[in-house]
């Protein structure tokens, strides 16, 4: 019995990563219909920055994270103004996706030139990532608890912004109907830029909080990004909570299929299940089909 709880918890921890990245992706997609392929690399760079401030510039742990997030946000602001803005007018989403792929390649090279290929350890105060508590037969790693708390806090903050602030209102309006929102006087460029920044910050938090778990190395957030993408689609790319739920679901799915499925199918099974879900619910689990097509 405890075995299942252990597996479920492991799956949940991975799921937090997928959920956060999924959230970041859906946020940008809902508002601007753009799939940000650079999200993984950006999250990774946030992690590297936090480490750089702490380990090489001797800034205290918490402050280093703050600086890293500020730099992430600022960098995203600049990138959005320079590259995304001019393309948005065209309306076709494909060029923008290619553009994010270009940004990803660019940033990956910058990261490699700056930090090299060697993996580094991201040290946390008191080395609490190495502390494991025993609760009966259940083993809880201290840092995993931190991850859980961070995820919860991040989701709450994002939820607050979406539902209680003007920015959030603008984001929701744009998600519904871009033209109508513009006609209502909501400035598209403002909503767009802050959506991107918020998304990058969520990604940055993910990159930093998972750095002790995955080690800081080139491309360390890439796989998380792909799984976050899968999770977001599982949840239905148009629902923020759907993206989150999709992430948690995917984490659990992975954990349990490797436990039970024969070795040969273990890697493929989660993906197959996602595929089948899509066939049954073509718009993802948590998105309602948008009415009827007007003919």
């Amino acid at each position: 019995m405890v075995d299942y709880i252990q597996i479920a918890w492991q799956g949940l921890v991975s799921g937090f990563a997928y959920a956060l990245i999924g959230l970041a992706l859906v946020m940008v997609y809902k508002t601007a219909r753009i799939l940000n392929f650079a999200a993984g690399t950006m999250a990774g760079i946030s992690g590297f920055l936090a480490h750089w401030w702490a380990a090489e510039q001797d800034i205290p742990f918490g402050l280093a994270i703050l600086f890293a997030l500020i730099m992430t946000g600022a960098g995203t602001y600049v990138v959005e103004r320079l590259t995304v803005r001019p393309l948005v007018k065209l309306g076709d989403f494909l060029p923008i996706v290619i553009m994010t792929l270009g940004v990803e390649e660019f940033l990956a090279n910058v990261s490699l030139l700056w930090w090299g290929g060697t993996a580094r350890r991201y040290r946390v105060p008191g080395d609490i990532d190495r502390i494991n508590w025993l609760i009966g037969d259940f083993r809880l790693n201290a840092w995993h608890l931190v991850v859980a708390i961070t995820t919860f806090v991040t989701l709450s903050i994002v939820g607050y912004i979406i539902n209680q602030t003007e920015l959030g209102l603008g984001m929701k309006a744009f998600a519904e109907d871009q033209d109508a929102a513009k006609l209502m006087g909501i400035k598209e460029s403002t909503v767009s830029i802050w959506t991107w920044v918020l998304s990058a910050l969520v990604g940055g938090v993910t990159g930093i909080v998972f750095a002790p778990v995955l080690f800081l190395q080139q491309d360390y957030m890439n796989i998380i990004f792909i799984k976050g993408f899968v999770a977001a689609i599982l949840g239905g790319f148009l629902s923020l909570s759907g993206g989150v739920a999709g992430g948690l679901l995917l984490g659990e799915l992975e954990a349990f299929t490797i436990k039970w499925a024969p070795r040969e199918f273990a890697a493929a099974l989660p993906v197959v299940i996602v595929f089948i879900v899509l066939l049954i619910r073509p718009h993802g689990l948590f998105t309602r089909e948008k009415g009827h097509e007007r003919v």
Binding site: A17, L112, G116, G117, T118, A119, Q218, A255, R263
Partner: protein, 428 residues
């Protein structure tokens, strides 16, 4: 009417081209014939110059491609980007150290060593394309220090066909060592098969068979199956109770670890790189897997200990080479040179040490081959090397006409007091 004329012209053009294309076939086959005849003539010349060894050769010596009177050029295809970028960096650093040592000593027979590196991001398509670049555009003498079995496997036919030696890679596929198929391949890195076989034997010798249960975790790739087979063929083969695989894009080994816990394993062999091994140790601790952990060659580096911290204490390693942090003349010299070249602690590792050691043998081969450096004289020189001393990095190396693998050693190590210590050298 006009359109019909165009069609006719087009058809004639196509026919003419097909004929021309077939014609060119003869050209290319005749040029390869002339290549082989020139290499024949150079080998006959080199044997005659060996007869009159002390006298300066009066006959002309046709030097190999990539060799001039003052330079020998090598090519190296490395993963410089992607998640194996660390390995590429380390190998290149070791190659630079080798080159500088040789050149500062005046070169070999008056020739300086030079090498070009190209990134393949561990993608065999790029490795092949790089090979063509090295051979046909840059005209290198040999390909040196490649990383990866999958990548080398793709490029090897091209190397062989163009008479290009493949030297001292970090690659472990059994097929490479067949001298009949690959006469230009030289290595000091025993096959993965031999490594797990040695591990299996060591395990039985030192821990017996009572209550011992073994789990293997290998990658689903070229070497993975040979690794498993090697273990099964050892004396401990029957003790295998759980086989797991991992993907390059895994983010966690939790499921595999939980399976090992379920199977009650006492020993786990982890066939990964150093970062993955460190993560494995961390997660094993989190999940409560109590066992002896045996890392493969790639896991044995200072960085493993750096990343895993205290959790690495007591972990075992199965290597083909001494620990890079050990205390032996050869190792000390290696580290001195690496640090002088600007290496970080983390780059003192199997990848760089292996390339460095290969470099030592390379230097010897080039020296023995003499003034008239051709592929034949080079290979022949290599095959004469016996009892080559690497200052303790490996046991004395021996090559022959049937054996281009100078080192078949398996070395068992353990992390003690924050450093890798050798337990046994030369485990069979």
């Amino acid at each position: 009417m006009k359109s019909k004329l165009w069609k006719l012209l087009a058809i004639f053009a196509v026919l003419g081209l097909v004929a021309a294309g077939c014609g060119d076939d003869d050209d290319s086959s005749s040029s390869s014939a002339s290549e082989s005849s020139s290499s024949e003539s150079s080998s006959s010349e080199s044997s005659s110059s060996e007869d009159s060894s002390s006298e300066s050769a009066e006959e002309e010596c046709e030097l190999a491609r990539g060799v001039t009177d003052d330079k020998i050029l090598f090519g190296s295809s490395q993963p410089m980007t992607g998640n194996l970028a660390a390995l590429g960096e380390q190998a290149v650093l070791a190659m630079e150290v080798t080159r500088d040592r040789i050149n500062e000593g005046g070169g070999i027979n008056g020739r300086m060593i030079e090498f070009i590196v190209q990134d393949d991001a561990y993608n065999p398509e790029k490795t092949v394309s790089n090979a063509q670049y090295f051979i046909e555009q840059e005209n290198v003498f040999a390909i040196w220090a490649s990383i990866g079995s999958a990548t080398l496997k793709a490029a090897l036919p091209l190397h062989d066909e163009s008479n290009t030696p493949s030297l001292f890679p970090w690659a472990q596929d059994l097929s490479f060592y067949d001298v009949n198929n690959h006469p230009l391949f030289f290595s000091v890195n025993p096959p993965a098969y031999a490594q797990t076989k040695g591990f299996g034997n060591y395990l039985v010798d030192n821990f017996g068979t009572d209550g011992v249960k073994v789990g293997l975790m290998t990658i689903n790739s070229v070497d993975g199956e040979q690794t498993v087979q090697g273990y099964k063929d050892s004396t401990g083969g029957d003790l295998l109770v759980d086989e797991q695989t991992w993907e390059r894009d895994s983010t966690t080994y939790g499921p595999q670890i939980l399976s090992f816990i379920d199977s009650g394993v006492t020993d786990v062999y982890v066939g990964t790189g150093d970062t993955q091994f460190a993560q494995f140790l961390l997660e094993a601790d989190q999940l409560g897997l109590e066992a002896r952990f045996w890392g493969s060659t790639g896991t044995i580096s200072a960085n493993t200990i750096e990343l895993a911290g205290e959790l690495s204490e007591g972990a075992y390693g199965v290597n083909v080479i001494s620990s890079a942090t050990g205390d032996k003349p050869g190792l000390n010299a290696y580290r001195e040179a690496m640090f002088a070249a600007g290496a970080e602690e983390a780059q003192i590792s199997t990848a760089s040490l292996l390339a460095y050691t290969g470099g030592l043998v390379l230097e010897e081969m080039l020296t023995l081959a003499g003034e008239c450096l051709t592929v034949e004289s080079f290979v022949a020189a290599g095959e004469t090397i016996k009892d080559f001393d690497t200052g303790g990095i490996m046991r004395p190396l021996n090559f022959s006409a049937e054996n281009h693998l100078g080192n078949n050693d398996v070395i068992i190590l353990q992390v003690q007091d924050g450093a890798w210590e050798e337990l046994v050298v030369g485990q069979e």
